[in-house]
């Protein structure tokens, strides 16, 4: 009989420790998901949640502060995301804080990032709704960039043709002189082109550096090397290179043209006889304006993309530092 008593005791210990392990696991998992702490609700409306799931983490300035508790379609373009946020964090989040959806690492889960708002605004209250930014997805961005590149390429070939014609004395530059607004436009265009050229060559360098850094890093991002995304980026960069070299050509040509105009040289009389060409140049310039604007927009979009976010943020920080330095020097 004694044997069975000690057996019972041992069995009791065994079962209790086993169940304790399970309960601890349940508790620790719940603890990490902010299930047992004191929390309050916060919501934000997105038009795309990019595969966010219930239970995903919410970060405020990079610290895990809560989890996603509800994802609900309000209408065909708006999705309300309900979050459970640690109570103690509430005073630190201001009403003008902004929520964005990102991913935790390159292949990680989706997360919600709450970016701190500017100073001065009041703290949020439980149940509040905060503003959101919808990020352009990489894919969309690359498609637009590609289109812009094609347009720019078409444009530059056209321009090249024209400037060549002008240089060879076969163009109708005469009108250019007579029409002062046109000359002004030309100047402006050149200005834009220069900026664009500079911008694009700069962005190429940045992209190159980024990609080479990606390649150097022997980490998960390495996966990216093989993906279609990477290939697209590469081709985009190639296009950008071509475009910018062409733009440079154009600028060079235009420069000589303008110098020629100023110096009274060239076959100006041709221009007066060909109003069609003038209109063409006009529209071309509009196109250039538009495309250079678009290129800038793309660079802006790139900034917001999660891949390059860190890089651009660093740059902004550096800029801010410089500004501060300058202010201090003053």
């Amino acid at each position: 009989m004694e044997k069975t008593t000690s057996q019972k005791l041992q069995l009791g210990v065994f079962v209790i420790i086993g169940l304790l392990l399970f309960i601890l696991a349940v508790y620790f998992i719940g603890d990490k998901k902010q299930m047992f702490g004191k929390t309050n609700h916060l919501s934000a409306v997105f038009n795309n949640v990019n595969g966010l799931q219930l239970g995903n983490n919410v970060r405020f300035s990079g610290i895990n502060v809560g989890t996603v508790r509800g994802i609900e379609m309000i209408n065909d373009t708006a999705i309300r995301v309900d979050m459970l946020i640690d109570k103690t964090i509430f005073p630190l989040i201001r009403k003008n804080a902004v929520a964005t959806i990102g991913s935790d690492g390159l292949v990680g889960n989706m997360i919600i990032n709450i970016l701190p708002g500017k100073e001065g605004a009041a703290s949020i209250l439980p149940g509040d709704q905060i503003a959101t930014i919808n990020r352009i997805r990489t894919e969309d961005m690359l498609i637009t960039l590609d289109k812009t590149n094609k347009n720019a390429a078409l444009l530059t070939t056209d321009l090249l043709k024209i400037t060549n014609e002008i240089n060879q004395g076969t163009g109708t530059v005469g009108l250019l002189i007579k029409d002062s607004t046109l000359a002004e436009d030309l100047k402006q265009t050149m200005h834009y082109l220069k900026i664009t050229g500079k911008g694009s060559s700069e962005s190429i360098i940045k992209l190159n550096r980024l990609i080479s850094s990606l390649e150097n890093k022997n980490n998960v991002i390495g996966v990216l090397k093989d993906t279609a995304v990477a290939n697209t980026i590469k081709s985009v960069v190639q296009n950008l290179k071509q475009t910018s070299s062409q733009i440079n050509n154009v600028i060079g040509n235009l420069d000589t043209t303008v110098v020629n105009i100023k110096g009274g040289k060239g076959a100006i009389n041709y221009l007066s006889n060909d109003p069609k060409l003038v209109r063409k140049i006009n529209s071309t310039m509009d196109n250039i304006k538009e495309s250079s604007f678009r290129l800038n927009e793309n660079l802006e979009a790139l900034k917001h993309n999660f891949l390059f976010r860190g890089y651009f943020r660093k740059q902004e920080k550096a800029k801010l530092k410089e500004q501060k330095k300058e202010e201090e020097q003053k």
Partner: protein, 262 residues
């Protein structure tokens, strides 16, 4: 010749269907008898002790080794990607979701399933089961119900132990090779784990335990006369249980997957 093979295959298939049918009937009887009084509580506890406590060492040792080996083996690959920091999450998720339950269940199928098969088989052969029947004790309740319930409830607990020890083994490797502190390891593990990993895997283990007990009892209870019959009962209990475990595992993962998508 071809016809011969064909008819043989049909025979085998028939035998298989018969086996499944008999086992289902056996399971049905189990549920019928489980809810009938009296409940053999003392014997149930004795079986729990035999299956739980006595298997703990085996489960602990194998769990520990699995944890060590699994970590050591995956380290180089993760290192290549520079993702060694993902080790705790990877190890814990795969252990909790799959490796822990299935390895523990297989070990218990070997230890407990064959034990039950051999024990009940020899009891059948030496007429001990008949003797019980004559003594006015329902042998099905006394032998089968208690054992099946014991495996059903003990296996999940053994799996908890196995998982905990395996993760500890994995931590040791990371601690020695990667200089990872316990706190960091713990943080990584529980950051990666979710209820969706733990709960379905735990539910699954109850079915594993049930299958081990049921098949072991079935094979033993209907053991053929003779000593060879006992060996066969023990052997086929292990083989059949192992196969059944994988089938249950597949179904469990399949169902979990569906719920994950919802």
């Amino acid at each position: 010749m071809l016809m011969n093979t064909f008819s043989k295959i049909i025979e085998l298939f028939k035998a298989f269907l018969l086996e499944v049918g008999e086992l289902s009937y056996f399971a049905g009887r189990f549920f019928q008898e489980t809810f009938k009084r009296p409940f053999e509580f003392k014997e149930f506890l004795r079986q729990c002790y035999n299956m739980g406590n006595r298997s703990l060492l085996l489960v602990a040792v194998t769990g520990f080794i699995i944890g060590l080996v699994f970590t050591l083996q995956s380290r180089p690959t993760l290192q290549e990607f520079g993702a060694v920091s993902w080790m705790p999450s990877m190890v814990s998720i795969s252990l909790i979701r799959e490796i822990g339950p299935i390895i523990t269940a297989l070990i218990c199928a070997g230890r407990i399933g064959s034990g039950i098969g051999a024990e009940l088989g020899s009891m059948r052969v030496t007429e001990q089961i008949d003797a019980m029947e004559v003594s006015g004790t329902n042998p099905f309740k006394y032998l089968v119900v208690t054992r099946v319930l014991a495996t059903t409830f003990m296996l999940p607990i053994l799996v908890f132990f196995g998982n905990a020890i395996a993760i500890f083994g994995s931590f040791l490797v990371e601690n020695i090779k990667g200089k990872v502190s316990f706190l960091l390891y713990y943080n990584q593990v529980f950051n990666a784990l979710e209820y969706g990993d733990l709960i379905p895997a735990t539910i699954k283990t109850f079915f594993f335990g049930f299958a081990i007990g049921l098949v072991g009892c079935y094979k033993g209870y209907y053991c053929k006369k003779g000593t060879a019959g006992v060996g066969l009962a023990a052997n086929s209990a292990v083989v059949f249980t192992s196969m059944l475990l994988f089938i249950i595992d597949f179904i469990a993962v399949f169902i979990t997957d569906i719920f994950y998508d919802l």
